[in-house]
Amino acid sequence: MALLAVALLGQSPFFRSISEPALDAIAPIQNFLTSATGITSGGSRSTSSNNDMLVENVRLRGQVDKLTQDAARAPELQRENDELRELLGLRRSGARWQLVEGRIVSLDSTNQVKSAVINRGTRDGVSDGMTAITSRGLAGRIVRVGANWSQVLLANDPSSSANAVDQRSRARGVVSGLRAPSGTSVMQIRLIPQGEDVKVGDRIITSGLGGVFPEGISIGLITQVRQRETDLFQEAMIEPYVDYARIETMMIILNHVPIKLDFGDG
């Protein structure tokens, strides 16, 4: 019973005050281990004989990342541009993000949750709720911060949810992670009203609704639409742009402060 109480009260300030100094101490060790072993990049398996291929591969992957991001952003920028032409005099907000780059030092120690620890914390201006992105799109959200580390809930975790929009049809929905065999990353977009136009191949981006994530961050492509006449909503499967199993670095958006709604005290 005592242990059960511990588990149920596990997020209380008391336990946080115990675990956070411990994590402050462990973060440098994880950082060292990650550097030494080449976590997520398969660095331990690279040998001197394939260094050239590795360099070339990294360069090409960088190009693919950039082009994918450009392709995803272009229609969005076009749409924004059109809106701005219509709404003369209004300034576009959130166009420039102030970013700090963080390196993943460890992934979640259990198999149940998808999270990562990065080597940036309050010292670098990171705070609870900030958005983490990669060059390809949405990575996740900061859920816990220490002096020199932050825990990121990855966007492909089932408990993560992000308000999103179909870039073509502007249909809105909520994106969350799904468990998939073989460790592949799959996400789904739910709560799309019936009658909205959603097709395979459509790009899904964050809508900015709710104020948790900034708008316009790429999430993924629709691969399958599930629509039944009897349901109130339709849903779709998404193949995310970000390969969550192989993220090495991510960037934290410092100048987008998430809105925290508090209905508690009237």
């Binding site: 511990v6 588990a7 259990t110 149940q112």
Partner: protein, 180 residues
């Protein structure tokens, strides 16, 4: 657990120190290097396997001590509520140690059969507590994509660790002539 008898106290303290070392080392490995060696998207639960093996070899008391220490170490590296792993580990040892004790009377290697039971118990308890705290749980998806590969992988790891722990335990087995 902590006895005043000199040699027995040394033996028990050896188990405790070994438990702390295994917990910290295993938890660090689980959150770093083991992610490079996944089986159907799942990495080995090294700390859980060590706890179960030690519980089988040394009994519930020592296994439970390892379970609490190991669970706390694992919980430092996850966003799951603090204490979930400790509860799962202790209950897993509670069932595994007596079960293995009965089975291995026939042949020691049969104790390995208890490992999948321990892994399933841990995952079910951890999943249940997380679900109580609002974490979305899809039982079928969880069973196929997480639990099944975890049971297979952890049993294979246990097949390597159980004989090692049995050997280590024999080296520090308390003997009857040590009284006073």
């Amino acid at each position: 657990m902590f006895r005043s008898n000199s040699i027995l106290a040394t033996v028990d303290m050896f188990g405790l120190y070994l438990g702390i070392a295994v917990a910290l080392g295993g938890a660090l490995a689980q959150s770093t290097i083991l992610w490079d060696y996944r089986f159907f998207g799942v990495h080995a639960d090294l700390v859980l396997v060590c706890v179960l093996c030690w519980g089988i070899v040394r009994g519930f008391d020592e296994g439970a001590t390892w379970a609490i220490i190991g669970g706390m170490a694992v919980d430092l590296g996850t966003i799951a509520p603090f204490g979930v792993s400790s509860v799962g580990f202790v209950l897993a040892v509670l069932l595994t140690a007596p079960l293995a004790n009965r089975i291995q009377r026939h042949r020691p290697i049969f104790a390995l059969i208890a490992i999948p039971v321990g892994v399933v118990v841990h995952y079910l308890i951890a999943g249940l507590i997380m679900a109580l705290r609002g974490y979305p749980l899809d039982p079928i998806g969880f069973g196929i994509t997480v639990l099944l590969p975890a049971v297979i992988l952890n049993t294979c790891v246990a097949a390597l660790l159980l004989p090692t722990f049995a050997w280590a335990s024999e080296q520090f087995q308390p003997t009857t002539w040590t009284s006073q």
